[in-house]
């Protein structure tokens, strides 16, 4: 026995054996918030300063990937900055930098994208505007470039999908990534299940973003799940109403694009009730409720006249 206490290795072994019963009792030391608080509060509370800093890095990585998707969309041709950075910073709205026109980059606004990019011009200038002469010609030949007058061509969305996957892994609160990723997936009829999974994930990570519910409803329409789609649009409209300012006036927290999406949600509800669920009474009620909020909405008025 005495020799054990004189042998350091034996003493170390005794120490290791003593650790085995001790370790399980320490399992709860890392948790100090009460169990009843919700996940969001828990995340806000239990985030060390380093985690916060790394979280910012992660979000920035997602933003860089978002920019990358535009490069892929245009087959590698780099266009000059055409987004309203001020608006993006203050409201998060992805709007084009035009003083009196609203152009938005969403899955549902692809045509606007053509206009914005073409107007902005390519980063490598065309020959007539390039003072560099031979060097400019060389750059236009070795780098992806297209003449501003050439038809605006977009790459197939398949190439963008990995970026949307990666950026939403990097920042699960990047809801625009979920929306546009779903939009590209839903264009392919064989990937409808994947698009539904993707948008469901987005809704799970951002339950209060009404645009995600709207997109989910659109995917469910494609899957002909009418009741679920109806519920998704109702949820989208209800969430939008919580943040929509009076009469839907554009402000720092509500963009024209948000108003457009809100109107779309209100229009889908009576359309499904009337055309797919054969419930004109419910459709009438929904139209009336919709017109109460958007009195000048032409599609809703047309639907009302159709029902008379």
């Amino acid at each position: 026995m005495n020799s054990i206490f004189r042998n350091p290795y034996a003493l170390a072994a005794v120490g290791l054996i003593a650790l085995i019963p001790l370790r399980p009792s320490l399992a709860t030391t890392a948790r100090w918030q009460p169990e009843e608080i919700d996940q969001t509060t828990r995340e806000q509370l239990n985030s060390s300063a380093f985690v916060t800093i790394l979280g910012e890095v992660r979000a920035s990585a997602a933003d860089l990937m978002w920019v990358k998707t535009e490069l892929y969309l245009h087959n590698g041709v780099q266009f000059k900055g055409h987004l309203n950075v001020d608006e993006l910073t203050h409201t998060g709205a992805v709007a084009a930098r035009h003083e009196h026109e609203e152009h938005h980059h969403d899955g549902a606004h692809e045509d606007d994208d053509d206009d914005d990019c073409t107007r902005a011009g390519t980063l490598i200038p065309e020959a007539s505007k390039d003072y560099r002469g031979f060097i400019g010609t060389l750059q236009r030949n070795v780098q992806p470039w297209q003449d501003a007058k050439a038809p605006h061509v977009h790459a197939p969305g398949d190439e963008l999908l990995p970026w949307y996957r990666m950026l939403t892994y990097s920042n699960p609160h990047h809801w625009r990534g979920y929306i546009i990723g779903t939009w590209w997936l839903a264009r392919n009829p064989s990937a409808l299940t994947q698009s539904e999974d993707f948008i469901n994930e987005g809704v799970r990570n951002n339950p209060d973003v009404f645009q995600l519910h709207l997109m989910r409803g659109r995917v469910l329409i494609q899957r002909q799940a009418w009741t679920d789609a109806l519920n998704a649009f109702r949820r989208a409209a209800a969430l939008a109403e919580k943040i929509r300012p009076a009469e839907g006036k554009v402000c720092t927290t509500w963009s024209a694009s948000d108003e457009e999406d809100y109107a779309a949600a209100l229009r889908y509800i009576p359309l499904i009730e009337l055309r797919k669920l054969n419930d004109p009474a419910a459709a009438r009620k929904s139209i009336a409720a919709g017109l109460q909020r958007l009195p000048d909405d032409t599609p809703l008025k047309n639907l009302q006249s159709e029902l008379r």
Binding site: F5, A12, L16, L19, L26, T29, W32, A49, F50
Partner: protein, 267 residues
């Protein structure tokens, strides 16, 4: 087989007599090195940034919590790095430069040399941590829910965590070259928990997984500054005691492994 020679206990007082001289030597050496000044510079940078924020005005409790948390995290991280870098070079460098011969010829026993190197290394880490904590507390606003008692317990546990790190680094440095020791100990200190979780998942959460988790030095258990920053309550006395015992046992294990290795090590 009786040899007539009895090995004294590893921690007997006779072996620890030259300790103050060794501690002083390490302290003087550390002052000549650059790490202390780098640490001072980083502390100064943090203090300047915190001071500017304090003057400009910290508007929300979240910001106050963030800045205070950053100070403690930075202090813990830099103290750990200082301990790893200092401890990994203590004995290998002495052996490589052959300056260990005159020290051992004093005569200073090998265990005493080991303790004489480890204790000031740990002390340096604790001093660095304390300096950061004092600067953080002095320069950032305290929130009502942040308790001084929780801070003291967190500081104590972090100091014990540095003791494990010192013993572990000294122990590993007797087997591996300094650079490899630094990398390995850094990986265990900062990513040990992930590695342990990974191993437990590979082995399943049954008996083997739990045993492996128990036999892995999890320094993150002793990192309780976030509890203080978040305004958490003081851990139950039994838990606090268990954490202290956990730290002391791991320190003891590594110290004994180092003593066993160094006693028989050909120099």
């Amino acid at each position: 087989m009786a040899t007539g020679y009895t090995t004294p206990l590893p921690l007997s007082p006779a072996r620890l007599r030259p300790l103050p001289h060794l501690v002083r030597a390490v302290w003087l050496e550390s002052l000549r090195r650059n790490e202390m000044w780098v640490l001072g510079l980083l502390l100064g940078l943090y203090a300047a940034a915190a001071l500017v924020l304090r003057i400009v005005g910290i508007e929300s409790p979240q910001s106050a919590r963030f800045i205070r948390g950053l100070g403690f995290d930075l202090g813990g991280l830099l103290a750990s790095l200082l301990v790893i870098v200092t401890a990994a070079r203590q004995l290998p460098v002495e052996i490589e430069l052959r300056t260990i011969y005159p020290v051992l010829a004093k005569p200073v026993r090998r265990e005493a040399l080991l303790w004489g190197k480890a204790l000031p290394t740990w002390g340096l880490g604790v001093a660095a941590l304390t300096m950061f904590c004092i600067a953080t507390v002095a320069l950032t606003p305290t929130l009502p829910q942040q308790s001084a008692l929780v801070l003291m317990s967190a500081l104590l546990l972090k100091a014990l965590s540095l003791a494990i790190l010192t013993a572990m680094t000294m122990c590993v440095s007797l087997w591996l070259p300094p650079a490899v020791t630094m990398l390995l100990c850094g990986a265990i200190a900062f990513g040990g928990r992930f590695a342990a979780n990974f191993v437990v998942q590979l082995c399943g959460e049954g008996r083997w997984g739990n045993w492996l988790a128990a036999l892995w030095p999890d320094l993150s258990l002793l990192g309780q500054f976030q509890r203080y920053v978040d305004g958490g309550a003081l851990p139950a006395p039994s838990v606090l005691l268990a954490l202290m015992v956990y730290a002391l046992v791991w320190t003891f294990v590594f110290a004994m492994l180092a003593a066993g290795r160094f006693r028989r090590m050909p120099i």
